[in-house]
Assembly symmetry: C2
Homo-oligomer: 165 residues x 2
Amino acid sequence: MRVLGIDPSSQSTGFGIIDYDEERCSVRAYGAIRPSRRLPFHRKLNEIRERLEELIEAHKPEEVAVENPFYARNIKTAMTLGQVRGAVLVAVAARNCALYEYSALEIKKAVTGYGQAEKRQVNTMVRALLHLKDDSVGQDASDALAAAYCHLNTRLFNKKLEEQG
Amino acid sequence: MRVLGIDPSSQSTGFGIIDYDEERCSVRAYGAIRPSRRLPFHRKLNEIRERLEELIEAHKPEEVAVENPFYARNIKTAMTLGQVRGAVLVAVAARNCALYEYSALEIKKAVTGYGQAEKRQVNTMVRALLHLKDDSVGQDASDALAAAYCHLNTRLFNKKLEEQG
């Protein structure tokens, strides 16, 4: 099973793809989409959408996990983040992927065991859990990998529950 | 000159296209995009994006006017509206249209002379100004036509200033 995690942000949208096979996780790709700062906002959104569609086309993930933000500092931040999320969700729907959403709390808890963990702790734990030796994994990429990891965790937990029936 | 106005909303995204030629405005098309209620949210967003791209492809507007919301009741509303706006902006950028944004106050003022006008007043004035005999023009469509009208107004005002300059 292949899962794409996405961490939406107008400056730098993180992505991470994890394969799960025979009880092992392996990271297939990760990185961040950073539209040129000179682009007007609506063109930045479209670049994020295009790059995500290319990623989905290239790696063909079966499922996509995205953080569902229940919190934003203020209306303006919520509106900006909402617009980037809109571009991300359009890409997921246009490529016919199944979408799963998790709160920041669920994602942090799945990775660090603690819902209030800081971004740096998430980064350290993601690299340890996924055996990534690259010290330079950015925080946007590790947040995206954390979303994908959280989704796999939930999936496998549900499957075990079903088997125990 | 042909302008497309858009009024983003997840339930019913209004659109209206106005032609301006030899000092006369004429309405070319208007209506609303209403994604099926049964669709999951990300598919609704993609349907809005697809329908808008089809509209732009069919009518080839040179410029697009969208309301820029500075106000939302709360974080949740801002996030939802932001996501729909994201889908709308992606369509505008994907079809290479120039985007112009106006506040609700500017749009209402351009149409009714009063920035705090109610939706119903906007609807009545838009129909009068654009000689629309159809009583059944919905409020989403009239808000979209108002955005397009506001843009034309601003454009022509600026042009006159330049000529006098």
